[in-house]
């Protein structure tokens, strides 16, 4: 199954690596990654497509626990 993730992150050192690492380690392979810094310079907006067989709700909770993750939404890809 493929899922699309929309994340808002603190623009902090290591934030992107932690998100990618968490998704991979928890069983979801990144398919595409796109992101940009907000104009305020404080946040990242990140959109990822991942695929995996585990429960997406669990990944959402695991990403939400990251200190630098401010919001995360996960939905199935159409």
């Amino acid at each position: 199954m493929r899922y699309q993730l929309e994340l808002t992150l603190r623009r902090a050192e290591g934030a992107l690596t932690r998100v990618l690492g968490t998704a991979e380690r928890r069983g979801f392979l990144p398919v595409s990654v796109d992101g940009h810094a907000h104009a305020d310079g404080e946040r990242w907006q990140l959109r990822m497509t991942v695929e995996g067989e585990r429960a997406p709700e669990t990944l959402q909770h695991q990403l939400a626990k990251l200190y630098d993750c401010l919001t995360v939404e996960v939905r199935p890809c159409p």
Binding site: G14, T17, G21, R25, A55, T58, H61, K65
Partner: protein, 571 residues
């Protein structure tokens, strides 16, 4: 005042009184600062892994944040096993690592490693201070994160120039309050109550989250109010006293028959602060096959991660248990009474039927009997385990009174944990009785910490169960690898009595069962640190055992034949 001095004073403001570490080049400004901050007792270990495990033990025993310190590069990597252990067992810790100066970072400088980057999978969070001005935010957040919610370790990587930078403009440190714990939603409590009301064969499955949530008394009240048979995970042991009539013991790979069979026959599992760990569930697809699940946990990640919850109750365990206890008292009276009574009776009969026996034949020491005897003699002691067969014997046979009194490397299973963690447990309360149970394999992973024990004259009592082998691996090779014993022989162990003496530690030896009581008495009577070397049979195994890829009803015992299988259940 420089950044290092500001940090030392901030640690005092955070309530830190003890830290465990080892100096080196990139952390020297911080060690220089310690020279002038007598409120911080620095405990010099003999290997950085010992520092991390000691801080870990200190935190587990006290509930406070444990702090460890090391230099850059190898100092930091040596901390990582103890930090990882804190993550997977939810232990509040702050690790401070020196780093080469900012101008050298990224140049492959001497003792430079990307410790910040390496830390990601094994911390709750990590910071790297790029400027001294970031220190107030970083230190406040590090302690807040370590303490809040499900506790865990936080790493602060501190370049040398940041430690040396002028910090005189920084305000004194003010600790941040920990996050409020979310209360469970009423709707989820109602769902749980409905399932509990319907159940005829319920089992409570309690884990480490009970003690972490400071909910031991609430848990006991819930068990007593509902009269539901209870099984515990390794980290949950002590949440009910071992002798409580509803305590069926530990579940899982080395769990009791009564516990495992009850779970396999249950029609409802009430999971309290546990996470369906594979050592507890055995073959997950066949775990508790007839049961619906009520899962209570503070951490939303655990609910539904490995087993779908029919009712997931996310929130503070104490509040959850207190509300459910009240609701059950009002709603359960007489509901399914006869069926539940018969179920309870069946579970308790099994617990009696399969209770461990301690009358092993022969003149040699039977480790389970020694451990049971020791736990009865030192009933209020902290028991700190290493990893291996002795760890499972402690779990099975130690008479547990409280989960905070049982320190064990549960999820990581890190050999070498025991001795330094016992040092940490002793330093959080010098008047406490602390017993370290180790094996001849495990103790040699951090045996250098005998020097720390001696230096600080800590009255830790070490029970070294010596089977001259890596016993758990040997057991698996015997059972599942056709007795092809590969690299488990430790028959050339050092003379542990002489070794202890070289460190200045009093040591005793016992090898006959008839001498065990006297040996225990002599060990506990020692004024300072002491080691009891116990010679045990190399072939002794841990029973029962659920083989890999089997369900928990398929336990094997020392005759390698299946015992009682679950009763036939109504359709």
């Amino acid at each position: 005042m420089n950044g290092a001095r500001w940090l030392a004073q901030a640690l005092v403001a955070e309530g830190v009184d003890t830290l465990f570490g080892y100096p080196g080049g990139a952390i020297m400004p911080f060690y220089d600062a310690l020279y002038d901050v007598p409120q911080l007792q620095h405990v010099l270990v003999r290997h950085e892994q010992g520092a991390a495990f000691a801080a870990n033990g200190y935190a587990r025993a006290s509930g406070r944040v444990g702090v460890c310190v090391a230099t850059s590069g190898p100092g930091a990597t040596n901390l990582f096993t103890g930090i990882a252990d804190a993550l997977v067992d939810s232990v509040p810790m702050v690790a401070i690592t020196g780093q080469v100066a900012s101008s050298l970072m990224g140049t492959d400088a001497f003792q430079e490693l990307d410790v910040f980057g390496m830390s990601f999978p094994m911390v709750k969070h990590s910071f790297i201070a790029r400027s001294v001005d970031e220190l107030p935010h970083i230190v406040g957040e590090a302690f807040r994160i370590a303490r809040s919610g499900r506790p865990g370790p936080v790493l602060i990587d501190l370049p040398k120039d940041v430690q040396n930078a002028d910090a005189s403009h920084l305000p004194p440190h003010v600790p941040l309050p920990i996050d409020d714990v979310e209360a469970p939603k009423d709707a989820s409590l109602h769902e749980a109550l409905a399932l509990i009301s319907l159940a005829q064969r319920p089992v409570i499955y309690g884990g480490g989250g009970i003690a972490l949530g400071d909910a031991v008394q609430d848990f006991r009240t819930f068990v007593d109010a509902t009269q539901i048979p209870t099984v515990l995970t390794l980290k949950g042991l002590g949440a009910l006293p071992s002798k409580h009539p509803l305590n069926l013991g530990m579940l899982g790979m080395h769990g009791s028959r009564a516990a495992n069979l009850a779970v396999q026959e249950a029609d409802l599992l009430i999971v309290v602060g546990a996470r369906f760990d594979d050592r507890a569930t055995g073959k997950l697809a066949e775990f508790a096959p007839h049961a619906r699940v009520v899962h209570m946990d503070l951490d939303a990640c655990e609910i539904g991660k490995l087993r779908v919850a029919d009712a997931g109750v996310r929130g503070d365990i104490r509040t959850t248990l207190a509300k459910l206890t009240l609701a059950c008292a009002a709603h359960l009276h007489g509901r399914n009474g006869p069926a539940r009574k018969a179920w309870r009776s069946q579970c308790q009969q099994r617990a009696l039927q399969f209770a461990p026996r301690y009358d092993a034949p022969g003149a040699t020491v039977y480790a389970p009997a020694l451990l049971k005897r020791l736990s009865e003699t030192a009933a209020d002691a902290f028991v700190v385990c290493d990893v291996g067969q002795h760890q499972m014997w402690v779990a099975q046979h130690w008479q547990m009174q409280h989960p905070r009194k049982h320190l064990t490397s549960g999820a990581l299973g890190a050999m070498g944990f025991g001795l330094p963690a016992a040092i940490g447990a002793q330093l959080q309360d010098r008047t406490a009785q602390v017993i370290c149970v180790s094996g001849d394999g495990s103790i040699q992973m951090n045996i250098q910490e005998l020097a720390t024990l001696r230096r600080y004259n800590l009255p830790v009592k070490i029970v070294l169960l010596d089977n001259q082998a890596l016993g758990m691996v040997r057991q698996w090779q015997e059972l599942f690898f056709e007795k092809r014993y590969s690299e488990i022989d430790l028959s050339d162990n050092p003379d542990f009595i002489a070794l202890a003496a070289a460190f200045g530690i009093e040591a005793l030896h016992v090898e006959r069962a008839e001498d065990v009581d006297a040996a225990i008495a002599a060990l506990l009577a020692a004024k300072g640190p002491a080691l009891l070397h116990v010679a045990i049979d190399t072939a002794a195994n841990v029973w029962p055992l659920v083989p890999p890829n089997r369900n928990n009803a398929q336990m094997i015992d020392d005759d390698a034949s299946p015992k009682e299988t679950p009763h036939a259940l109504p359709a």
